[in-house]
Structures are given as structure tokens and as C-alpha cells.
Symmetry: C2
Subunit: 267 residues, 2 copies
């Protein structure tokens, strides 16, 4: 393995671009290749078996691009099949759940932590397990927020948008009345809704963005293995399994800059 090789990143769609954004901010010299499985999006309402099958297809596609590491930038896939991917692939595989859980445990004082995500992610209880592995005294409250993904993709994300705030209040109103002081955004779409979520939860609750925590975990892994790239930055490459134009249009909001080109592949 060499430092000049690429980091592969996949997600079910555009959401993982929040992880790419965090990786580019944390590791600007790295060469990234991204796959959004837009033909099969979303993963959050699918079973672990189906998500595992799709994730292996995605990983094997990315492996053809000379990888030194693979990032599963999808909470549902990380929850469903990270160990299966780690066992099957010849490169280190980093998911988004353990970094997010560790950041939450570092942030909490009350030891009451909330997790929000897709039904699939929460059904797997992967966050619950990762939080308890990091600190057995943590109390975890979980809440699925299925409408957050379509809201983010529709671009209805302003902190003062009446629809967004009403949806956030319905999902999070009761969570906000608990003693929790830390909330994990356990879906890569949710950072776009940070303003509305913060407004409903109140200033005493720290929001943990697992995209940033994951970028830190990747930096640490590459540093430990002496695999950090030092050459001139190169633009990331993007592949999708359907509708490249929609990916580029919607994805720009997630990446925080324009998506120059996305190439369609058939998996």
C-alpha cells in the first residue's frame, strides 16, 4: 500500500458527500473517489441483507480504483455490514458509526446521549452498541427521523423554514425534554438540517456530526500507517449508478461546492 493511492468513499446517494466535504477539509491532499448508489437509494428502509449485498458491489467497484482505504460514508451500511466489508476487503475499512459514537462519549457530561438516524440504522442498534462499548454507563435515547432525508434532498433546510422546524419539533420535541446533553446526527444527510435541529434541541445540547468524526478517524489511520498523501491536491472523482445530473445538482449542497462531473456506472 502506498501514500499515493486513493481513498474510496461510498454511500447510497448524495448524503456521503458531507463525509467527502469533511475529508477534503481535514485531508486536502488526499485523492478521493466516490460512489453514490443512486439507482438503489435509499438504504435506510431496506434490510441488513439487502444493504450488505449492495455495499459489497459498491466496495468491489471502488477497489478497481487503486485504494489504500475505504470509507463507508453511510450510516445504514456501516450499521448493517462494516464487519462483513472488513472481512471481505484487502484494504482498511472505516465506517461512520464508531467515530461518531466516540466523539459523543467524549462530549457528554450527563452521560445521556441521543442518536437520530434512519429506521435501518437504529433498528440495527449499532450506535447503541458502539456508545456502550465506549462507556458502559452511557444512557442512549434513539429516534428515527425518516422525513429528514427527503427534506435535505429537496433543499428545504433553512433553520427558520416552517416545514423543517415543524418536522424537527415532532421528531425531537420529546428528546429535547430529557436530560441529554449530546445528540449524534447518525445519518450523513442530517448535517444539512443542523440549524433546525439545534433550534429544537436548545443550546445545552452538543450536536455530533459523524462526518467530521469520521474524517478525523481516517486521518489517524493513515497517519499511523504512514499513508498520508503529500502531493498536490487533485479533485475528487464521482461515480453514480443513476441520474448523474440530479446527483451533481443536489450534491453541491452536501459538498459545499460544485460537483464538476459525475460518471454513471452500472453495478
Amino acid at each position: 500500500m502506498s501514500s499515493s493511492q486513493r481513498i474510496g468513499v461510498f454511500d447510497s446517494g448524495v448524503g456521503g458527500l458531507t463525509v467527502v466535504k469533511a475529508l477534503l477539509a481535514r485531508l486536502p491532499s488526499e485523492s478521493l473517489v466516490y460512489l453514490g448508489d443512486t439507482a438503489r437509494v435509499p438504504y435506510g428502509t431496506k434490510s441488513a441483507e439487502v444493504v450488505t449485498r449492495y455495499s459489497l458491489l459498491n466496495a468491489n467497484f471502488l477497489l478497481q480504483h487503486d485504494l489504500k482505504a475505504l470509507v463507508v460514508a453511510c450510516n445504514t451500511a456501516s450499521a448493517a455490514c462494516l464487519p462483513a466489508l472488513q472481512a471481505a476487503l484487502p484494504v482498511p475499512v472505516v465506517g461512520v458509526i464508531e467515530p461518531g459514537a466516540r466523539a459523543a462519549v467524549a462530549a457528554t457530561r450527563s452521560r445521556r446521549v441521543g442518536v437520530i438516524g434512519t429506521p435501518g440504522t437504529l433498528r440495527s442498534e449499532a450506535y447503541q452498541r458502539a456508545l456502550l462499548a465506549a462507556d458502559p454507563a452511557i444512557q442512549v435515547v434513539a429516534r428515527a427521523c425518516p422525513l429528514f432525508v427527503p427534506l435535505a434532498e429537496e433543499g428545504w433546510t433553512d433553520g427558520d423554514d416552517e416545514v423543517v422546524v415543524a418536522v424537527a419539533r415532532r421528531y425531537l420535541g420529546e428528546l429535547g425534554r430529557g436530560e441529554l446533553d449530546t445528540l449524534v446526527l447518525g445519518c450523513t444527510h442530517y448535517p444539512l438540517l443542523k440549524d433546525a435541529i439545534a433550534q429544537v434541541m436548545g443550546p445545552q445540547v452538543v450536536l455530533v456530526d459523524s462526518a467530521e468524526a469520521t474524517a478525523n478517524a481516517v486521518a489517524q489511520l493513515l497517519s499511523e500507517r504512514d499513508l498520508l498523501r503529500t502531493a498536490e491536491p487533485v479533485p475528487p472523482r464521482f461515480f453514480v449508478t443513476d441520474l448523474p445530473e440530479r446527483f451533481a445538482a443536489v450534491g453541491a449542497r452536501f459538498l459545499g461546492r460544485s460537483v464538476e462531473h459525475a460518471e454513471q456506472v452500472d453495478l
Copy 2:
């Protein structure tokens, strides 16, 4: 072909159950077999090529169940590939778009008709073509409403739900200010949101439910070919490609009665 054979019905997920509900009401003696492609839902944000590939898989699965007719109970699939399915299959194939368009043309007086649906359905312009084929003087206004599907699946459908009404107002507010007197609910999920849609559009606008129009078209087809079943009613059979429990739970709201059992198949 004989009257005792089954009617096959497929959709990308639970939405087509509104068509099953209408078929059971219109043709209670028919034997129905339904496939929800829940592993690949939704179709509405996917390309016509991908939707066609999945639809052919669905149709070929249902054909193994001794069909006399196939209903494409999905607007996106009807828009993307009804002619391809009709050419490929040995049974008559009925989509939801032409019946809905014909019902709208029969209902309108102002000859200004609105159509709401998924981005995929409207991008295809299939409704626009079907309406103009039925009456070349019709003026068509189309609006995609991507959040309506997740709202319906989440069960947030009450006509006085603040989220539902706010979303409906944002999508439909401008449509309501036009001269249109007829609105086609061009997605099988939308009948669940009829109350909120009616409230925003006002009492002067007729809502056309393409599920009911499609059931009428199927009744006419079978009657013309002397294929109406007259034996004792049998319960419909349900197949899904993922998560049968979720299908049964969410589907009951769409079917208007409980979904006894859904069998998972791998396509």
C-alpha cells in the same frame, strides 16, 4: 386465457395498494397477486432505463402466477415503460396514467388540468401526452411533490396536520391560484393526502384519483374479453423484495384493511 386466472399488480413499494384497494372495491371476485419492489423503492427519483429494467423483473415474476392481465400500479413505471411492457408480455398490460388522464378530461370544464407526481413521472411528460391525446385543447400545469411520498409512508396524512398542510401549501399554493378545475393525483401514494390537498386547492377543484380510474379500466378490459371472474372471492396474495413486516404495517393504511401476510422474494 380464462376468467379464473389472476390479475397481477406491481409497484415500487406500498403505493400500489391504493390501486389494489380500488380493484377489490370494483371487482371483488377477482384473484389478485401483488408485488411491491421494496428493495428498490422509490422509482420516482430513478431514470427511465433503470425503472424499465426493474419493471421487467417485476412483471416476469408475476407472470409465473398464472395471469390474465397485469396492472402497472406505479405512475413512474407506467410513464417510463408501459409500451415496453406491453410489447414484452403475453398478457394485456394496464397502466395508471391513461385512465387517470381520461378521467381528468371527462371532469374538466375549464380545460385547465393540473398534474402532481414524482419527478420521474413528470419528467417523462407521459401525463401531458395522455391528456393532450384525449383533448388537444387541454392546458396542463404540472408540479412534482417529492415529500408527499415520505409523508404518506410516515403516516402523517391528516387533513389538519400542520406539517402536511404546510408542505401541500408550498407545493400547490401557486397551482391553486390558476384557473384549473381538475387535479390529477399522479402518484399512487397521493390519495392518502387527499384531505390536505383538497383543503389547499379549494372546493372548486376536482381531485382525480388514478387508482379508481385504473380499476374502471381493468373492469372494462376484462368485461370486453369475457374474462371477469365470477367464483367466490379469494384474498389477494402479496410479495415484496424486502422487509415484509414494514410492508404489512405501512401497507394497511394504503389498502384500508390489514395485510395478512407478505412473502419475501429475491429478484
